[in-house]
C-alpha cells in the first residue's frame, strides 16, 4: 500500500498543499545524502523525490546535471540509491518517497527486478523522465503489482487531445511540469500554472503536483493556492551544494531552506 494516498488525503483534510522536496541520491557522497534525506523529512517535506543518477540527464538543467555528476563520481548508482532509501526507511516509515530518474539504469536492471528492489527498499512511486505513456506499460504494471505508482508528467505541451492518454491507468498523483524547458532554468508563471491545475482537475480525480523552476517561497506559495503539492528540486540541490566540504553547514542550510518552503506551502491558503 502506497503512502502517497494517505498523505494527500491528510493534506486535503487540512486544506493545505504539500511540499515535495527533491534530492539526488549519493550527492555529494552517500553519507551526506542520507543525512540530507532525513533533513528534508524533519524540516517538513511531505513527500520526497529521490533522484537516482544517470550520465545523460537530458531533461535536467545545470544544477541537477551537476548533482548527478557528483553522485556518480562518489560511486552513486541506481542500486546505491535504493540502499540509501532502505537506510532511510529504517528510521522513517511514513514519509512517501518517489524515485526519479531516467530509464536506462532501470532497463539495465530489468523492470521486474527493479520493481521488486524498489518495493523492498520502501519506495512508493517512480517517475521516469524519458518514458512517455506510449512506452511505459511494462514498468507501470510491474510497479502496480507491488503497490507502487508510476507517476506521469503532464506539460504545457500536453494538449487536450493527448491528455486522456497521459491520465489513463494512473495512480499516485500527476506531476505537472510548469515550464516548457528543463529543470531549474525557466521560472513558471503562477497564473498559468494555476490555470493548468484547474484544467487537470477537471480531467482527473488524482492530486496534482506542480514543479520545474519553483525556486523560492513566494513562487511556491502562489502555486500552492491551487496545486495539491509543489515540487522544489534544483533550488534545494543548489542549497545543499552551496557548502562544498562542509557537510554540517550544507545540511543546516538545507534544513532552513526546506523549513521556509514547507511553511510557505502549508500556509499559502490561510495567510
Amino acid at each position: 500500500m502506497t503512502r502517497l494516498a494517505p498523505t494527500f488525503e491528510a493534506l486535503k483534510a487540512d486544506n493545505r498543499a504539500g511540499l515535495i522536496a527533491y534530492l539526488m541520491a549519493g550527492d555529494p557522497d552517500p553519507l551526506t545524502s542520507l543525512e540530507a534525506l532525513k533533513t528534508l523529512a524533519a524540516a517538513g517535506a511531505d513527500i520526497i523525490e529521490l533522484g537516482f543518477p544517470f550520465t545523460d540527464p537530458m531533461a535536467d538543467g545545470p544544477p541537477i546535471q551537476a548533482a548527478a555528476e557528483r553522485s556518480l563520481k562518489a560511486g552513486g548508482s541506481l542500486k546505491k540509491a535504493l540502499d540509501q532509501l532502505a537506510a532511510f526507511r529504517r528510521e522513517n516509515a511514513t514519509t512517501p518517497v518517489v524515485l526519479m530518474g531516467y530509464l536506462n539504469p532501470i532497463a539495465h536492471m530489468g523492470e521486474a527486478a527493479f520493481a521488486e528492489a524498489a518495493a523492498k527498499a520502501g519506495a512508493d512511486g517512480v517517475i521516469v523522465v524519458d518514458l512517455p505513456p506510449e512506452e511505459d506499460e511494462t514498468l507501470r504494471l510491474a510497479l502496480s503489482a507491488r503497490g507502487m505508482s508510476l507517476i506521469r508528467l503532464a506539460t504545457p505541451t500536453t494538449d487536450a487531445a493527448r491528455l486522456p492518454a497521459v491520465l489513463s491507468g494512473l495512480s499516485g498523483f500527476v506531476y505537472y511540469v510548469s515550464v516548457t524547458g528543463v529543470t531549474g532554468t525557466a521560472v513558471p508563471v503562477a497564473a498559468q500554472a494555476q490555470e493548468a491545475v484547474d484544467r487537470l482537475k477537471k480531467a482527473t480525480p488524482l492530486p496534482i503536483a506542480v514543479g520545474f523552476g519553483v525556486r523560492d517561497e513566494e513562487m511556491a506559495a502562489a502555486i500552492a493556492q491551487k496545486a495539491d503539492a509543489v515540487v522544489v528540486g534544483s533550488a534545494l540541490v543548489e542549497t545543499l551544494a552551496g557548502h562544498p566540504g562542509d557537510a554540517e553547514a550544507a545540511l543546516a542550510a538545507l534544513s532552513m531552506k526546506t523549513t521556509r518552503l514547507a511553511r510557505a506551502v502549508h500556509e499559502a491558503r490561510t495567510s
Binding site: L72, P132, T158, G181
Partner: protein, 403 residues
C-alpha cells in the same frame, strides 16, 4: 526520392523488432508526434519529393560517382572494389542528404529555427549550410573535446552563419552535444526543428534519416548494375550512429545475395574497457536519446563515453535499425581500431589519390580482408562517405608529424 510503401519497418510504434520507439520527455512527445505526421504527409507529396530530388541534383551534386578503385583492388588481389563517392557531395560528406530532407521538412512545417548536434562537425557543417541556403538561423551543439579536434569545421560553421555552442558536460563529445540539443528543443518546442544527424533518436528520426540517406544505396544499386550488370556481393560502410551505412544498406536489404557489412570503431581495441566506440560489437541493449538500441554502458546502466580517433564514430549508441539487422543476422558488423583506420587512410591516399575521412577509413581497414574473402570475381561497394580534409590535424598528431 521514391516513396517506398513496401517498407514494413519500423512499425506504427517506431519499432524495428525490439529496438527504436520514442523515449522522450513528455514535453517533446507532441512535437515528435507532429513530426511523424508531417513527415508521413511529405513522403506522399510529389511536390516535396521532387523539391528534394532537385536540390540533391543541383545543390548537393548528386548522383555521386560509383568509382572502380582499380589500384586498391589489385593491391588486395581479391574482389573488385568500388567506392561510392559520397565524399564528393557539397560539404564533403553524406550528411547533407539528410540535412536537405529535414530542413525542407522544417520549412514545410513552418519552423523558423534549426538546431543540430555534431561530432566530427560534418553534420554541423551540413546543417549550417542548408540553413544558410534557406535563410534560417542555426545553432549547432558540439562537445568541447570535438570543438578542439575539429577546428576547421567549427570555423566553417561560423562562416556559414551558424552559432556553435560548445558543450562541456559529461565527456564533452557527441552524446553530450545531443543531450544539450535535446534540452534546447524541450525549451523551444514551438519554433524549433531539431535536425538529428544520424539514423537514431526517437521515432520517426531513424526512419526519416534512413529514407533521406537511402539515395546512396539506390544510386549505388543502379550504378553497379550499369557498370557490372549484376548486384554486388557485399556492401560495406562504417557505423557510428550508422546513417551512411543504413543509407547504403537499405535498398539492398531485400537482395538476399548481397552481404551487408558494417564496420564499427574499436578505438584502442574491443577488449580495452571504455576505450572503443563499438556499440553493436561491444555493447548491450538499453535506452538513450529517444530509442532502444545497443549501447556502451556499465553494470549500472550508466552510459560509457567510449573512444575513437574518429569524432564522427565516437558515440556510445547506434541507430535502432542496425540493432535489428544485427539481431536478425541480415547484416554483419566488424570493427577496426584507431591504428588500423590510420593505416587504411594512408593506403587509400597513396593508392587511389583520395584522402578519406577517418570515419570511412574504418570501413577501408576491413575491405582488404572482405575482398579476399569474396575472392576474384567477387564485387563489393564501400561507401566513402566523407573526405579527410577535416582530419589532417588529427592525423598529423597521430603520426607525430608537425604541421
Amino acid at each position: 526520392m521514391d516513396p517506398r510503401p513496401a517498407d514494413s519497418l519500423p512499425d506504427a510504434q517506431g519499432r524495428f523488432g525490439a529496438y527504436g520507439g520514442r523515449y522522450v520527455a513528455e514535453t517533446l512527445m507532441p512535437n515528435v508526434l507532429a513530426l511523424e505526421k508531417a513527415y508521413a504527409a511529405a513522403k506522399q507529396d510529389p511536390g516535396f519529393l521532387s523539391e528534394f530530388d532537385d536540390f540533391l541534383s543541383h545543390y548537393v551534386g548528386r548522383p555521386s560517382p560509383l568509382y572502380y578503385a582499380e589500384r586498391l583492388t589489385r593491391y588486395f588481389g581479391g574482389a573488385k572494389i568500388y567506392f561510392k563517392r559520397d565524399e564528393l557531395n557539397h560539404t564533403g560528406a553524406h550528411k547533407i542528404n539528410n540535412c536537405m530532407g529535414q530542413i525542407l521538412l522544417a520549412r514545410r512545417m513552418g519552423k523558423t529555427r534549426i538546431i543540430a548536434e555534431t561530432g566530427a562537425g560534418q553534420h554541423g557543417v551540413a546543417s549550417a549550410t542548408v540553413a544558410a541556403r534557406f535563410g534560417l538561423p542555426c545553432v549547432v551543439y558540439m562537445g568541447a573535446v570535438d570543438v578542439e579536434r575539429q577546428k576547421p569545421n567549427v570555423f566553417r560553421m561560423k562562416l556559414l552563419g551558424a552559432e556553435v555552442r560548445s558543450v562541456a558536460s559529461g565527456g564533452a563529445t557527441l552524446k553530450d552535444a545531443m543531450n544539450e540539443a535535446l534540452r534546447d528543443w524541450v525549451a523551444h518546442v514551438a519554433d524549433t526543428f531539431y535536425c538529428i544527424g544520424t539514423a537514431a533518436g526517437p521515432h520517426p528520426y531513424p526512419m526519416m534519416v534512413r529514407d533521406f540517406q537511402s539515395v546512396i544505396g539506390r544510386e549505388a544499386r543502379r550504378q553497379i548494375l550499369e557498370a557490372e550488370g549484376r548486384l554486388p556481393d557485399a556492401v560495406v560502410a562504417c557505423v557510428g550512429g550508422g546513417s551512411n551505412a543504413i543509407g547504403l544498406f537499405h535498398p539492398f536489404i531485400e537482395d538476399q545475395s548481397v552481404r551487408l557489412i558494417g564496420v564499427e570503431a574499436a578505438g584502442e581495441g574491443l577488449h580495452v574497457y571504455n576505450r572503443h566506440a563499438a556499440a553493436l560489437s561491444g555493447g548491450r541493449p538499453g535506452v538513450l536519446h529517444g530509442n532502444r538500441t545497443y549501447l556502451l554502458q556499465d553494470a549500472d546502466g550508466q552510459i560509457l563515453e567510449g573512444h575513437s580517433i574518429s569524432a564522427g564514430l565516437d558515440y556510445p549508441g547506434v541507430g535502432p535499425e542496425h540493432a535489428w539487422l544485427k539481431d536478425t543476422g541480415r547484416a554483419e558488423y566488424r570493427t577496426a581500431t584507431d591504428e588500423e583506420a590510420l593505416a587504411a587512410f594512408q593506403l587509400c591516399a597513396r593508392q587511389e589519390g583520395i584522402l578519406p575521412a577517418l570515419e570511412p577509413a574504418h570501413a577501408l581497414a576491413r575491405i582488404g580482408e572482405i575482398a579476399q574473402e569474396l575472392g576474384q570475381g567477387g564485387l563489393l561497394i564501400m561507401n566513402l562517405c566523407g573526405r579527410g580534409d577535416k582530419d589532417i590535424f588529427t592525423i598529423a598528431d597521430a603520426l607525430g608529424a608537425g604541421l
